[in-house]
């Protein structure tokens, strides 16, 4: 037998049993306990084969199912007769419990719908009028408040605080291409013929901008638009803009 769902999908042994009954398309009243017991055990075995841990409550129901099954196989002794009227048949008891559980299981969808419905109405935090409030704060405390009111208030504060968090947003770093930077530098050189590498940057400089600028300068040097000079290693680089004449001399 192949099962596609795992035990985690169930809310407990009764839930699993209900699922199996539903799968078999039978009514709780018409359930053949012997048959469903086998399926239930098969399911637990399948879980075991997958090395999944099975909570003890699942095993307890398994034992109970086997108990019902074995009871049915034994001939009823006369001794039991005395107790019969007082004690509920275990099979009936199980079916009763299943029915009760399934009723609550069914009503869960109502609560889910209501939950979704309420979410469609947005309300706002009360306006902050604490400065001009007419009623004294201590008047509020005269009401019959208990610890659960405090808890409720605490939860509201948490909810409100969470609304104060900034809205999620993405900040993209400004990117600049080497070509764009070359254009910018060319404009700069038109006003200043000679400058140092460190002078090129304004205040908010990123690592990326330095790299792009450096590469732009190398590119400009290659095309003999500028000439570079550095005294020693790690010292500032002097950039000199070459005008037409000098460019030809170099070319």
């Amino acid at each position: 037998m192949e099962y596609l769902v795992t035990i985690d999908a169930f809310q407990g042994p009764l839930d699993l049993l209900l699922y199996l009954i539903k799968e078999a398309r039978i009514d709780i009243d018409n359930v053949n306990v012997s048959e469903i017991t086998q399926q239930y055990l098969d399911y637990l075995h399948a879980m075991e084969d997958l090395n999944l841990e099975i909570a003890s409550e699942y095993l307890r129901l398994a034992a109970y199912l086997i108990y019902i099954k074995s009871r049915k196989m034994l001939p009823q002794s006369n001794l039991d007769d005395e107790n019969i009227s007082y004690e509920e048949n275990p099979e009936e008891q199980l079916k009763r419990r299943l029915k009760l559980y399934s009723i609550f299981k069914d009503v869960v969808s109502f609560f889910q719908e209501q939950e979704t419905e309420r979410e469609k109405y947005l309300t706002k935090i009360p306006s902050d009028l604490s400065e001009e409030l007419k009623i004294e704060t201590k008047d509020f405390l005269l009401q019959d408040v208990d610890i659960y009111d405090l808890l409720s208030a605490y939860n509201r504060v948490l909810k409100r605080y969470s609304l104060h968090k900034p809205i999620k947003t993405k900040i993209k770093p400004q990117t600049i291409t080497i070509d764009e930077r070359i254009q910018e530098l060319s404009d700069l050189f038109r006003t200043r013929k000679k400058l140092r590498f460190t002078e090129i940057f304004e205040e908010n400089v990123t690592k990326e901008l330095i790299v792009v600028t450096f590469m732009a300068i190398l590119e400009l040097t290659k095309h003999h638009v500028i000439r570079l000079h550095q005294d020693t290693l790690f010292q500032d680089i002097y950039i000199e803009y070459l005008d037409e004449e000098m460019r030809e001399a170099h070319g």
């Binding site: 407990g12 839930d15 009723i103 609550f104 609560f111 109405y121 935090i125 939860n155």
Partner: protein, 191 residues
């Protein structure tokens, strides 16, 4: 105050109160009208809000009237207001349903219906103030009896607990039988 002024007053009051809202009784006192008149007034306001050019309306949850945006336009509002609210788990909803219908109820009774341990779920629901202790059962150990809260009603868009749909007949009968049994034997709720 004439009708128009009352409507304006209602609108302004509920706007200021926000999600706290006002009860029928409070509005009656402030506006100096009867509770029945408050009901009529709210009905009229809601009726006027049905106009498609209106973006807000009044909802009635947990016994409070609250001003809220209209659900018809929720998609529009969601553009700026993204809800990251976590929905309740199936286990939590099961426990909520059981407490809602069978309150006051002990943990043992909840676990008996579900056939599984529910301690953590109950603790979580108490922390979220959806259920609370409403008393103790007068039996050895004095177990806590749980009931639902106003936050529960508001969360599930209910004005009162009476708004819950009726359960299938079997449970009703169950409950009656149990109640009969309980009244004959042990239950005495003490605060």
């Amino acid at each position: 105050m004439d009708r128009a002024e009352l409507l304006a007053g209602l609108e302004g009051l509920l706007y200021v109160a926000g999600d706290e809202g006002f009860t029928k009784d409070e509005l009656a006192q402030i506006l100096e009208i009867s509770e029945e008149e408050v009901e009529e007034l709210v009905e009229e306001y809601i009726e006027r809000c049905k106009d498609t050019s209106r973006g807000v309306t009044i909802i009635h949850t947990a016994g409070h009237y609250r001003m809220a945006t209209k659900k018809e336009y929720i998609e529009l509002f969601r553009k700026v207001y993204t809800s990251n609210k976590k929905r309740l788990s199936s286990a939590a909803l099961e426990v909520i349903a059981i407490v809602a219908y069978k309150q006051p109820i002990t943990r043992a009774e909840i676990e008996d219906i579900r056939g599984t341990n529910s301690e953590n779920v109950i603790r979580k629901l108490v922390a979220m103030s959806f259920i609370k202790e409403v008393g103790r059962l007068d039996v050895p150990g004095r177990p806590i009896l749980y009931g639902t809260t106003n936050d529960f009603l508001d969360y599930f868009n209910l004005s009162s607990i009476e708004e819950l749909p009726e359960l299938a007949e079997d449970v009703e009968r169950e409950t009656e039988e149990k109640d009969l049994y309980d009244s004959m034997t042990k239950i005495k709720i003490t605060e």
